[in-house]
Amino acid sequence: MSTITDATLQDPPRLPPEFKQGPLMRRNAAVTEAPWVRWTLTAVALLFLLGFLFLPLIAVFVEALRNGVSAYFAALVEPDALAAIRLTLLTAAITVPLNLVFGVAAAWAITKFEFRGKSLLISLIDLPFSVSPVVAGLIYILIFGAQGWAGPWLMEHGIKVAFAVPGIVLATIFVTFPFIARELIPLMHEQGTEYEQAALSLGASGWQTFWRVTVPNIRWGLLYGVLLCNARAMGEFGAVSVISGHIRGQTNTMPLHVEILYNEYQFSAAFAVASLLALLALVTLGLKAYLEWRHGDELVATRRH
């Protein structure tokens, strides 16, 4: 019997129905919009995303499977496709570590020391982002191509750079050049030099300080940069297209293979290879979102510009 009185005490006091939400909504109206405005804006934003981002993504997978699952897999295990996958992986495997070392070295020099011309240096590191990928490919042709500066000499010695794997790697390095450095610079700038000073005062050597203190401090930012660098390295099309020579089975990366298949009207095969790249993009986005969510505080600098 006594439970009844308890229940009435514990329940929130009942309000007349007309009071529900009314005052609350009116109070918030000062700094938010009417519900219909909110819904409209949200709908417009999501429709825009749907039309511009989701539909192309879905189209890739639907078109890839248009001729059935077996045709899909046949397109992927075809020798030229496999060669393209191998070359793409190889290119990324060379490019990413090189840019990683560069990114760390550049960020160290820029964030741990004061010197004149620093902001110029930062702008120069960002430069490849504002150069058209086609121009990025062109510049190496001008050096290593048959009519290029180094072309005749390379020809004499039997070294192929343009229209060969080294050229592809060079062009890829160029377009992915700034990714890791620009991820690390704001992060290391924010962390300052106090941790390194502490380690040195405790007797650590320069390398010990770097490996035991600096690297753990920047590991998530480093991973974030590697992730973006890798996505671009595997997916680069314009720069590689100029310098590769499109030799099937030899200098064809995955994006180039997509183009060749597409231009030969093998649409579903083209989309099948493209779907692999789309999957790579999705995995990249997933990992990126996870890093931002889980280690956002150690990427802080990157999230704010």
């Binding site: 941790y195 000073q197 405790l202």
Partner: protein, 375 residues
Amino acid sequence: MEIKVRGIHKAFGSFPALGGVDLDIASGELVALLGPSGSGKTTLLRVIAGLEFPDRGAIVFGEEDMAGRPIRERRVGFVFQHYALFKHMTVLDNVAFGLRVRERRERPPEALIRERARELLELVQLGGLDQRYPAQLSGGQRQRVALARALAIEPRVLLLDEPFGALDAKVRKDLRRWLRQLHDKTGVTTIFVTHDQEEALELADRVVVMNRGRIEQVGTTDEVYEQPATPFVFDFLGNTNVLPGEVRGREVYVDGQDTPIVTASLHGSGPVDVYVRPGDLRVTEPGAPGFDAVIRSTQRTGPILRCEAVTASGQAIEIEVPHLHYDTQTLRPQQHVRLRLNQFSVFPRQTRNRDGTLPDVVPNAPAEYRARGRA
């Protein structure tokens, strides 16, 4: 370890952070570097540590000149203002770091390192927290981890940059006392930087008062407080009233009054500034040595009664008395009182009033006082 600082100059661009600093610190001493921000105290500490390199001058540990020796060879325990604890390491790993990075032939075996780290954590009263990460500790605990980490390398000197700056008032007081005890126990030569005079005076054997890249005075708490060498030292160590005065032989006439204060320690003659603390002013009978003032307002703050008053020459001053002192009966607004100076310092008159000191004439001082002050 005995430390000698000789003729240290250091400039950052065109800003002279240290302009010729000499200092001797005895082995086992606990010394405070005290000064306002920009006074060069932190720079001096960092120069001693080897975190900054002086433009000129020498730093000598014992007999060994440290100039040009990198910090990792100096064996100084440096505690950073914000501790700089390695976030990705446990408390134990932080403390053990300095031992683990030693070269193999000097490095103790791992078991010994852990044991030593645990001992140090016991010493700083953090036993049992060795598997925590810095993020899981309170500010005071982090401070003590940073200390244990610095002590782990058996430093020749322990250097602390604003050790209590990032802590709240209560923790600050406890840690201060505890640090004094720790120092008495370990006996490591210790230098710390602070801008808080109370902290410096309570904790240190000797206080080094710094201003504009120079040392103003070095002395024990009593010395700097009782015999401040410069107006700056007097002013920096507490609330200050500055009154115009004149010295003739052993007599000092305060605020243009005709009854002088006679003291044996004065000599010379001429216009002076009389520096007196609000708590050193007391009511006395009319005509006694001292000066006249009118109370403008009173304010009780806790156990202290604080009065604002105006002297005969129109100078605004502050008086502080304990709230149960019998002077409180006289110290009422509009009361005319005669004040004596329990303790004061006299410095040659400065041509220009520095910021923060009281202006010569208070614009709204009563007309009769202004007239008398000029007479």
